[in-house]
Symmetry: C2
Subunit: 792 residues, 2 copies
């Protein structure tokens, strides 16, 4: 069990520390040179700053950092230690604690040459009583050192993510299709000194359950009180615990005092909050938060210690979707699929969201401001859940605080991804320590709704199974410490889909829309549509001489435009040329690539929604990125620059909207354009009657195809509508069909047209709702063009 997490914003009794850092090849050497260090930060950033290097995100500058993985880094600082009050009448002496919220990755802390802590793992905090190790004032300097070991590697032959398969080091920094090989090391969370009274809280832990009708929260709080062992008996009795839960107005909804017995070091408190206001994801209700506060006071009423933590009340479950038990049908019978439909406070929620990858390569750079910006964008895009992908580190506390406030649900994975993590004794020991720390730190957050062992562990490229000790351990840890939260061993589980990650597969010729329309997943927890970054981002990372045309072997490639998944990933020039012909310049190519990303994502999100209630989640891969990619499936370029696709996804995730199931993106002369209409609703409100007008727009001409009278419907219910049958071309493109016919597309031949769904109320009055608009391609004179290798 770890100690309770520190709220690092409460710095009333911290003391500023001035750090410096240097490196050695051998563990036992002392650095010859120290440079100033920023804490929190990373050794790479400190050294680059001292050397005056260009930013790591430009071109292939990251290659400069490779040697840093394999040396020993030593941080050093001289402590300004405070005066501690000595033992006085009936009161134990004050204590000085060293607190470190996270050091990446394996490290050894020493004070004045004495070992204070040796640890493997970046997530478990350090909280050590150093009172007896510090020199009194005037008796010499107090020197704190933190030696950081080389990055963990299970093998040295190949430089790849599998090197992380025997550690809890997030695998992404060993190299991924959106991340360069750059392995951060160093102190990534705050370090501070803290003066505590002799009697103080060592640990606390709150659990609650809601009654079936949600009218009561039954809360329990387990506490562990530390006391000065030398003054054993005197220090326990007579003290008092004061436990309060305060609502947002500061009113106590629970208020209890407990007089402590002599030896009562592990008191357990129980209480009830009547009619708690329930926390909801933002598209379903409010986000009321409460302050859970406990004070320890001496017999004379003096405040000895206080803990405060924000909590929220909601019940979360993974439930079977409607109809799930009907399958399997025939003998021999297997099991029904595992549940993946999220239920909050008894209400089924369709989850719309994305996979979060850490928005910085260096976790020490993660900042509340970045979180606030990107989470604001997430909420504005009508997303209600983020899957915290296991390849990346667990985020800093402010991330989860903001999710609580913004009503964004969190699916949190442990740091395992796409590797075979063999269950050696040493690995399991570290994993247990790290996972317990992660669970204890995050469990108070109402936004956190799912624990998950990690990414794609039950697929061929990982090779783990339900029998893997690492995953059985994680089930045990989560069940013991946090049983009310659902736990998945990995994603995908049976019935859940990951992929595809293309608009059009260059090999099979299949479009992603078609793949999804044929699929029948219970949740779509990863799917990607690539798009290039904006010119502004591209200019910031690619030398101007390499900007046009994009080529293999340039900064385009080191920033993932080529050769990361298949040869043409993630820029897919071949796919762009398939639809539009060659692009004349960078801006045209960017516009086309971003259009595909926008339309592709809209079609996929909406298809996942149309398959409700069997389908219950649409989470794209991925929301953001840890450094600037030239092309990527991300919706937000680093640093926090939204691509047009973010707004498109926001359109596709509106709680109530008209939607069209469109078979394909590109249409030819004489084809029957046959979108199927839907009215989608994930809203908790009953949906009144409305009308949907269907328009075809091209070259400034609009044609009304039909008006669908949509009946009223229950809350959270989709309605399937008519299928349009319309022989192309559009009126404005008629008599203009001579140009093409060959198998090559000239950019000039391709026309764009829009299908527009316009909402009106039951009386035909316009609603204050945005249109659903789909941009499609029409190639005059061209009947159809399919790749002969199509899997259709």
């Amino acid at each position: 069990m770890s100690s309770s997490p520190a709220d690092v914003d409460a710095t009333s009794n911290t003391f500023p520390l001035q750090w410096e850092v240097g490196w050695t090849k051998l563990e036992t050497d002392t650095p010859e040179r120290f440079v100033p260090a920023q804490v929190p930060g990373a050794v790479q950033l400190d050294w680059a700053r001292a050397e005056g290097w260009e930013p790591y995100w430009i071109a292939d500058n990251w290659k400069q950092y490779e040697w840093m993985e394999d040396v020993f880094w030593t941080y050093r600082c001289v402590l300004q230690t405070p005066e501690l009050k000595p033992e006085q009448e009936r009161k134990a002496a004050q204590k000085l604690f060293l607190r470190m919220d996270g050091v990446d990755y394996r490290f050894r802390v020493s004070l004045n040459g004495s070992l204070v802590r040796e640890q493997e793992g970046m997530f478990a905090p350090v909280c050590v009583d150093i009172t007896d190790l510090i020199h009194p004032a005037g008796k010499g300097e107090n020197v704190l050192t933190v030696q950081v070991f080389p990055a963990p590697k299970s093998h040295r032959e190949a430089q790849n993510r599998a090197q992380a398969n025997q550690s809890c080091k997030p695998a992404v920094s060993y190299g991924w299709d959106f991340h360069p090989r750059l392995i951060p090391l160093g102190i990534w969370q705050p370090v501070w000194l803290e003066v505590r009274e002799g009697r103080h809280f060592r640990h606390w832990d709150t659990d609650y359950t809601l009654s079936d009708d949600f009218s009561r929260a039954e809360i329990s709080m387990d506490i562990c009180i530390e006391r000065d062992k030398k003054a054993d008996r005197e220090n326990c009795g007579g003290a008092e615990l004061h436990w309060q839960i305060l609502d947002e107005t500061g009113t106590a909804v629970l208020d209890q005092k407990l007089a402590m017995e002599q030896h009562d070091l592990l008191p357990r408190l129980k209480g009830t909050v009547q009619n708690p206001r329930l926390w909801w994801p933002h598209d379903q209700g409010e986000q009321p938060l409460y302050l859970n506060r406990i004070e320890l006071r001496s017999e004379s009423g003096e405040l000895l210690d206080v803990h405060e933590q924000r909590i929220g009340f909601r019940r979360v479950r993974l439930v079977m979707h409607e109809g799930a038990w009907d399958s399997p049908e025939a003998f021999p019978k297997s099991r029904s699929n595992p549940p993946i439909t999220l239920e909050i406070n008894g209400r089924t929620i369709f989850c719309k969201g994305a996979n979060w990858v850490s928005p910085e390569i260096f976790p020490g750079l993660l900042a509340r401001e970045t979180y606030a910006t990107q989470l604001g964008m997430t909420r504005a895009a009508n997303m209600n859940l983020l899957r915290m992908w296991g390849g990346a580190p667990v985020q800093k506390a402010s991330f989860y605080e903001l999710c609580d406030e913004l009503g964004i649900m969190v699916w949190q994975e442990f740091p395992l991804a796409c590797n075979f993590y063999a269950g050696t004794r040493e690995y399991l020991r570290v994993l247990q320590n790290e996972s317990e720390a992660i669970v204890m730190k995050l469990k108070p957050h109402p936004s956190l709704v799912i624990w998950c062992g990690g990414n794609e562990l039950f697929n061929a490229w990982s090779g783990m199974t339900d029998q893997s000790h690492a995953l059985r351990l994680l089930n045990s840890v989560c069940f013991e410490l946090d049983p009310e939260r659902p736990f998945l061993m990995t994603s995908p589980v049976d019935g859940v889909g990951h992929g595809h990650y293309v608009f059009r597969d260059p090999e099979s010729g299949q479009e992603a829309w078609e793949v999804f329309q044929k699929a029948a997943c219970t949740a779509y927890c990863e799917f990607g549509c690539p798009g290039p970054a904006s010119r502004e981002v591209l200019e910031s990372i690619i030398p101007s001489a390499e900007l046009w045309p994009p080529k293999v072997g340039t900064a385009w490639e080191t920033h993932h435009a080529f050769g990361v998944w298949m040869q043409s990933s993630h820029l897919y020039v071949d796919v762009l040329e398939h639809y539009f012909g060659p692009s004349d310049n960078l801006d045209v190519m960017i516009e086309r690539g971003q259009l595909l990303q926008c339309e592709g994502y809209k079609g996929l999100y909406e298809e996942a929604r149309r398959q409700k209630p069997k389908s219950s989640m649409a989470l794209c891969w991925c929301l953001n990125e840890p450094w600037p990619s030239a092309a990527n499936n991300s919706l937000i370029s680093w640093p926090s620059k939204p691509k047009p696709a973010l707004a498109a996804v926001g359109q596709a995730c509106r709680p109530v909207m008209a939607s069209a199931r469109i078979r394909k993106f590109q249409w030819g002369e004489g084809e029957i354009f046959d979108p199927e209409l839907w009215l989608l609703s994930d809203s908790a409100e009953v949906r009144p009657r409305r009308q949907v007008e269907v328009w075809l727009e091209h070259a400034g001409t609009s044609t009304l195809l039909l008006t669908w009278n949509v009946p009223a419907a229950e809350a959270n219910t989709n309605t399937q509508g008519p299928r349009i049958q319309y022989a192309l071309p559009m009126p404005s493109a008629r008599g203009n069909s001579a140009a093409a016919g060959s198998s090559d597309v000239a950019a000039a031949d391709v026309k764009r047209f829009d299908l527009v769904l316009r909402a009106k109320d039951a009386s035909g009055f316009a609603m204050h709702e945005q249109d659903s608009r789909y941009t499609l391609l029409f190639v005059p004179g061209r009947k159809q063009r399919r790749n002969p290798r199509s899997m259709n």
Copy 2:
């Protein structure tokens, strides 16, 4: 953690107890009448004996017992207590312990009116120091009472198995399709008094891991030593532990002594056994067993306590079958199926076996002799694994001891089956206590290879999921106490099949062979073919006036011949008539029904084997039965009377054998009889070349159809052979085809013919191997007859 299990055969310091039992309607009353009680036993058996009732297994006599579920039963006995040696120089006083290995189900133990133990759960043993509760000799009687509560019921509206869904009471006795409603209660395991020294073992626990090359077993032993608290310090130091592991010749392969420190109450010992002889299932190798023995001796060398336990060394894993990682193939990708292929000591094992249901309604009647008989039959039938179905109770210790000796692997389920076990706090508390006791009792057995949460919990009729707290708890308990053994939450998991349970589905017209030949399961963990019991069994349970013809509403029905699964289950007169026409008398009907069971099971076992390596298990439902069924899928009638199908299954499970995939059971005039030949091998030996002769036999005439020259093959490998194409009828049936043609079958029309596969060695000499023989039906003049509802 429970105390370690008692070896109840070691009765050197037990004292015979004379029990009597009576009942009351109210918890607080005392029985008016006591009758003699047998311990171990059941209250129902004691009462019936006292009343002189007819046996419960005849006709519907079991209905007499219904009221017994709902009253309070009180056992009583007067203890003959031994003299205890008092505290002497440097030696603590002896202690008297009450040991009870199992009381069914909720009970309260009192001694001289003082409460000794209150417990819910039949599996956790009781081991209590009663030294301070007994009256000294001559100071009055010592009266022990055990009050047994009414059978647990979560509801009273309906009398069904769901009443067991909030307890660890095995659900089968609440009524099943092979079990009457008869819920046993009472003391089902031994109760005895035991004199112990003041210092003794309270708990011990041994774990081992084998090195990758199996050349070393690294063993650890955790011990908890109890000592007299009054004489604290004096009683710990100076004592000595002597740990030995002895092979079957009595030679120590490990021998360690440890001098104890003063306060060392939890010593941990570690050792290595070099080149341990490995335990194998009987069809793969030997079953060497070792004796794990630890002694506690006083400073003067006096033996204070000793524990002995038989162990065996083997490594067990569930692994992915060959090719398993290739699936899923297309996007969106789900996970690969969970592993279900058993690997012992690095060797993949095809599991052939059956589902074990308890061979007695009353667990108190379970006896080593019954186990020895039925396990002997199991082994003789070439079965190597039994699935201990979760609807039935965990068996007595001698069952697992015999499995160790006989080389029969055990898949052990916890007592959950076909119910929704809601995770209430109280249920989880009992489940944790019971499951920990079960794991600690059974984990030393090398034959035990899989833990499983229970039966069919992830199907509609149970409604549990991977999120169910009960199953997450069981995974945690098994991982914590016994991590090296595979754990399944339930059966079936994805890819595994249960069912079907018919020879021919009367509704769809499909034959079980066809269903299996189209299936592609990773394991067939339940499948059934029903057959009637022998005349001898039928006469023992059905009044002679009801014997012929079988009718609904008679003892046939109460013994499961009608209306238990579908209207015609398990006798299926309609299916018999479909193939053979009406039966003239009981013996003809029995012969026909048993033929279908024999041929059905052979076809299913062999098909599951032909699908190796994707398929890895063939476990029929079920091996045995807890009371005599008139018709059932069982291979052994109660009590231990094999049906002909047991020998047939033994044929189908031979390690190396020729096999034919036959599409259907009944053939018509002019049809192409087209069996496909296979050579099946689960043997660890390389298979030399051989010949297989294929004969058609009918009415004393044999026709050689072909001789297949089977090439040599690797160990554990099947070989697919030619497909025969033979236009029926058989020569001996030619010119005899005028009779039939109508849609009704007259028994006289139906001819039987045999397909016989005869093994010869590479030189054509006969081998000492039994033929593979399949009996089939031929209906002269009849082209084909299929039910129009066939799913083909």
